[in-house]
Symmetry: C2
């Protein structure tokens, strides 16, 4: 079951049977519990804090306030360290704060023998605030006299602009049809099953060990060091299985405090968030306001996209401006033959901190672009699918950022495959009859482009190490982290492929431990198969060469005439006669007294390419006008993710992304009171994340291209499935009702407002 | 604090403050307890076993008898797998047995929620035996009609003989003085502070994980696989700090059963021995009977040693014949210029299993040889120190086994240094006056040779891996296991030396984990500094080259003109101008987008040399004739262990060995009833291991030679300090009383018998 096979997930049995161990299943003896005291206003200064009563509660070990912690400012974003200061993350955070910036900010922390005791102590801490005006709406944030959320920032984190692909003036001149509209996206939250959790303890050699549900152990190690003012070599982060992250665990949220407490108190301390905390005091998706202009010529050629984006990063920068920056960049590959101008700005606001979330700024941009593409086609009287087919990227089109041609590009085939699979033309022909009455049917389509990593914005490094065991099996250690998406399975297949053994012969070391795990910054940017695979392939190739060389040394054969196949070393050539089994070779390498050695291979590799993947969604839905409800009848995603390493897990990944995208399209929104900054729905009862009962049947399809820069031909597939369902649904609602809605979600509340305004209700 | 410096032990603070974590401090949630049902006779067959009542005890999970376990015969000795069958360990053991072979053999095992419940269940198991004659004395074991302890063995495990260094007949002919005597050594036990303990659980990917207090995790992994009939890749052994081993944890004793139970029951299971079990049901030192002949010519030249050794390996072979074989081989280097004939045989007996114990057969042989050397010198009327000085090895003497010359050899200097340090001649002149009366004073001396590993008997493999961290520090991972003797500290010094950084910049990964730790068979044979150091040095050199190359790439300097010093890369030459700090280089290597990579180095290395180390003991003592008690006034060991890596830890190592050797000389003996095979003193009240109150002031001295085959010039020092104190004490008692005692220990009971016989009492 090597590359291309539907290998069952290596962690599948453990996870579906409940045997798999997560951070909360582990722990060390004597763990204490820590809980944060959170601000009860969204913006203000603490004038006075009284912890005396809390300290007197039996079972309370310590209470620390913002006055008792190191004053090292640090950034929490899960990025590799930036050598050039221009790309450095914004260091705007302390372990605890006196200046509170969102409703839930961390002012103090209690350590106690258990959660109840900690909770009791928290309730006894008295805080007096000096309130400041909460800034939630863009208008308030950017107002001339607005208070500064971070002194000196003028409430702007960063802005940047670029123009590629020619002259905008000329492109406007050549455009027959030009549209300009504003789009607004909502706040969503990741809602991973496992809340953030970390515990820390001192090891026997005075290092701080943090066991954490993180996507980015190696980055967490650096940031903990920065926050505590300790060299990184004294910090060790261990990452067990994690119950989902979707980018929210690409921030370093609990680890610095857990480490600080263990270090200060000399005893193990756990911090486990409750869901209500997790929804507010981790990260959210940046709400965007996008002002978008687009023009096409008479022949339906898209001439330019002119995009102005405003992004709200909330209380602290976290990933800050990188999110909108990545979003506008990665969208470019979709329609690369026109002029593309972008102006983007990220601001602070008194809302929870925005951070990384699946597809990292692209959902907001793709929603805007694919909505306006639809509107433009309709305005010009073109079939929007045909309009897309005419303008989407083709192999050989130029990446305007690095001026190199696209080598693999299957978006046209994806649209064509979807059109056929979805019986698009047939449906399209039959639908007009269903577009009157109370329940109206509509079809929608949308496309996307994405990337396969972060290069050249960030360094793209991956590491892998392979060990040949005495029984002829291998242990595989990678820096890339399994966060539920199936990367461990993919890496097993890759190693099995290159080493010519069954997948069962590759033992995956699933836990990352920064003391010893080969360096990799972690799971984000859909980088693992493409970037992590580079290291796995090279390590496997390196070990294969060592094995064949050693076989040559033992057997006298020229290693060039040997290959690995089925757990044996065989002669090249058609008959493939066996020279020896891997097990016999391994025993010799370990135990021969005068030759050989343990055969291992380690590779650290930096990838300097970043091919885009593509895809599209077709959706067929009904809108119940009086109820303001959408019911999806059929939905299908078609992806060009290069070669599919595992069709079974690929399908699962697409299904998961589609479900999240449907949630973002129809249900989900974290509601922030615009005057007070309070969160109205910090729980899974009031925040409407769809369950399996709300999710329609999902279809996933693939057009397999071969990406030549990729270790096994693949490109990104982790985040992309979330991208196109949302705009496709929006376009189908437009198709069904004639109402073009430029905000999210398309919840009954939103639909009601728009349908009223459009006069169909 | 690099090589040669008295660096404080890296684990010192954790261990003296009690913070250090051992196996029993760890564990996983839900651990169950297992306890063995042990035979109540030393030899017999179980006729019937009834576990029904035990199974009915509330809280009992399972009871397994010899009928319920896999029937894979396995060997427990901590040796690397032998490719040639001739060197393979004897596979004479099952997980549980019906044929019981010593008083305490494992018949069944109970798993329960706690120890008390398990104990209650054990007490309810009813066993009926068919008794067989217990064979304890050599005469009984070798009797014509003795029952076979292992069917087909004739009670002999193995025998072998050799003759090196010329013709024995000729040497006898040239000898003016010939003595022949018999020596008998007792059973001693290791008495490490931490009893054997292991727990096992299934990991998420269906591997069996065993956390164990073991010296040999990689070997334990293989043996667990053999015992359970599972491929080794499915077994993972983790070794935390261990509270002493002295060879007793160079056997695989609890791990196979812990693994079996976790595998069968699917839940975590711990087996922790009590002291009473630990003293009997682990391993003991082989009791030897040595028939020794020796001859010297008129000029005092030792012409031949003719040695016949009989070794009792007890109920199961364990290390079996290897122990006497190693003992007779390693003693040869001491007096290498005569003929050396050996005939050795190892037999089974119905006593606890003998295994590896500090110095592995050499104490028994060195005691015999150094006692007879003393007797011979006295018989010829020579000063025994002069006799030794005339005959001990000199550089250039030929190792009769590999026919190569000794490259480093400081035994002559050691004797001379000791003579001076100890004021031997002065004392010797004054003593005769104190050799009458009730309390008589005596001086004694004895020498030894040992080895620095097991080559060519076994493969000598070691592995190390180094990682350059972002802060310019390093993590060092080695396969060699810290068992309390200080190897981690030594490896830190070696790496610091070669990498030109402070010892604090080397972070030691102390825990071995067979899934990922570079291969090394473990801690035994005093191999770690010599053999493990080879891998550490080579890994450090490899990484140094990578660092300097990378610095060249960044800076434009020729790497040949660069060196590492004080955590910086500097130009060669006297001024040593700084090119960059290691930290800056590390940051670049990790985070430059277009060059570099994580810098690591891994080396697996097989050593094919094995230089002997040497040393001697001088002792000054008093014998109280009426009380039959010995009081040591002064004792000193002088060692040639090559270059001393750390004088502070070296001294500690020598002190520990001397204390153990004094225990063996004067107090310790595990008493086995010769007719029933029962053990009389399976506890630390009745087994007289000396405490600090029984130990005199100890002096350690060194003559530093430089061993050219050694990574940093050193040779073995772990076990050797135990070798010469025992015979030196025996010789001093002879000096004081005129009574030559050829058995151990020289306890009041033994002295009484001999003094009576000699008529001085």
């Amino acid at each position: 079951m090597s590359v291309g096979s539907p290998l069952r997930r290596v962690d599948g049995a453990a996870k579906v049977t409940g045997r798999a161990r997560y951070t909360d299943d582990l722990g060390v003896p004597g763990l204490r519990t820590a809980r944060f005291l959170r601000s009860t206003m969204a913006h203000g200064l603490v004038k006075e804090i009284d912890i005396r009563e809390a300290l007197a509660v039996p079972g309370v070990d310590a209470v620390f306030t913002y006055e008792d912690v190191p004053r090292n400012r640090f950034a929490t974003a899960g990025h590799p360290f930036a050598l050039d200061k221009d790309h450095a993350d914004v260091e705007d955070r302390l372990l605890l704060t006196r200046h509170v910036r969102y409703h839930g900010d961390e002012i103090a922390v209690v350590v106690a023998r258990d959660e109840l005791t900690a909770g009791r102590a928290l309730s006894l801490i008295r805080v007096e605030y000096e309130p400041l005006k909460p800034l939630v709406k863009f208008e308030d944030i950017l107002a001339e006299n607005a208070p500064e959320i971070h002194p000196g920032s003028k409430n702007t984190v960063k802005e940047h602009s670029f123009e590629v692909g020619g002259s905008l003036d000329q492109a406007q001149g050549e455009s027959e049809y030009i549209l300009e509209e504003r789009f607004q996206t909502q706040i969503t939250q990741h809602c991973h099953l496992e809340n953030h959790i970390a515990y820390a303890y001192m090891d026997d050699l005075d290092h701080i060990v943090v066991v954490s549900s993180t996507q980015i152990p190696h980055i967490a190690r650096r940031i903990v060091g920065e926050a505590l003012g300790l060299p990184l070599g004294r910090i060790r982060i261990v990452k067990p299985y994690i119950g989902g992250g979707f980018g929210n665990k690409q921030d370093v949220i609990l680890e610095p405090m857990a480490a600080f407490l263990a270090w200060k108190l000399g005893r193990p301390v756990k911090i486990a968030q409750e869901r209500e905390e997790n929804m507010v005091s981790t990260r959210i998706r940046h709400p965007f306001r996008v002002d978008l202009r687009m023009g096409a010529d008479k022949e339906g050629r898209l001439k330019f996209i002119d995009l102005k984006a405003l992004s709200n990063t909330g209380a602290y920068a976290s990933h800050g401006h990188s999110v909108v920056s990545a979003g506008v960049t990665k969208a470019h590959f979709l329609y690369p033959r026109g002029v593309y101008r972008c102006r983007a700005r990220t601001v602070y606001g008194n809302i929870p901190s925005s951070g990384a979330m699946r597809a990292y700024g692209s959902p907001q941009i793709i929603f805007s672009i694919e909505s306006l593409v639809e509107n433009l086609a309709r305005a010009a009287g073109w079939d929007s699918l045909e309009f897309r087919l005419k303008n989407v990227a083709l192999p050989g089109d130029i990446n305007q950022f690095n001026k190199k041609p696209l080598l693999s590009c299957g978006i046209k085939q994806a649209l064509e495959k979807g059109r056929e699979l979805f019986r698009w033309d047939e449906k399209r022909a039959g639908i007009p009859a269903e577009q009157t009455g109370e329940v109206r049917r509509g079809l929608g389509v949308a496309c996307f482009s994405y990337a396969s990593g972060t290069y050249p914005a960030c360094v793209e490094s991956a590491g892998a190490r392979l060990i040949l065991n005495q029984d002829g099996s291998f242990h595989l250690q990678v820096g890339a982290t399994e966060i539920g998406h199936g990367s461990d399975t993919i890496f097993v297949q890759m190693a099995a492929q290159t080493l010519g053994v069954a997948a069962e012969s590759i033992h995956m070391v699933s836990t990352q431990d920064t003391d010893i795990t080969p360096y990799d910054p972690g799971a984000y940017a859909s980088r693992q198969t493409y970037v992590g695979g580079q290291a796995v392939m090279r390590a496997a190739e390196k070990l294969r060469v060592k094995i064949l060389d050693y076989c040559g040394q033992i057997s006298g054969h020229n290693p060039a005439n040997l290959r690995l196949e089925g757990g044996r070393i065989v002669l090249s050539g058609p008959d493939g006669a066996e020279v020896m089994s891997l097990k016999d070779l391994a025993l010799d390498s370990y135990y021969h007294k005068d030759r050989g050695r343990q055969l291992t291979a380690e590779v650290s590799y930096k990838t300097r390419t970043n091919p885009p993947s593509f895809g599209c969604t077709f959706v067929d839905l009904e809108v119940d006008i009086p109820l303001c409800q959408v019911r999806i009848r059929e939905i299908c995603n078609i992806h060009d993710a290069g070669r599919i390493i595992n069709p079974k897990t690929a399908e699962g990944q697409v299904h998961g992304g589609m479900a999240m995208s449907i949630g973002a399209a129809l249900y989900e929104e974290l509601l922030v009171d615009t005057s007070s900054g309070r969160i109205h729905n910090n729980n899974l009862l009031d925040y409407k994340v769809p369950t399996i009962m709300d999710t329609p049947g999902l279809t996933a399809g693939f057009v397999e291209t071969h990406e030549p820069t990729s270790p096994y031909g693949s490109k990104s597939l982790g985040e992309p499935p979330i991208l196109s369902p949302t705009p496709a649904i929006r376009n189908a609602v437009l198709d069904a009702t004639g109402v073009a809605i430029n905000e999210l979600p398309l919840s009954p509340k939103t639909l009601f407002r728009h349908f009223k305004k459009a006069g169909i209700l």
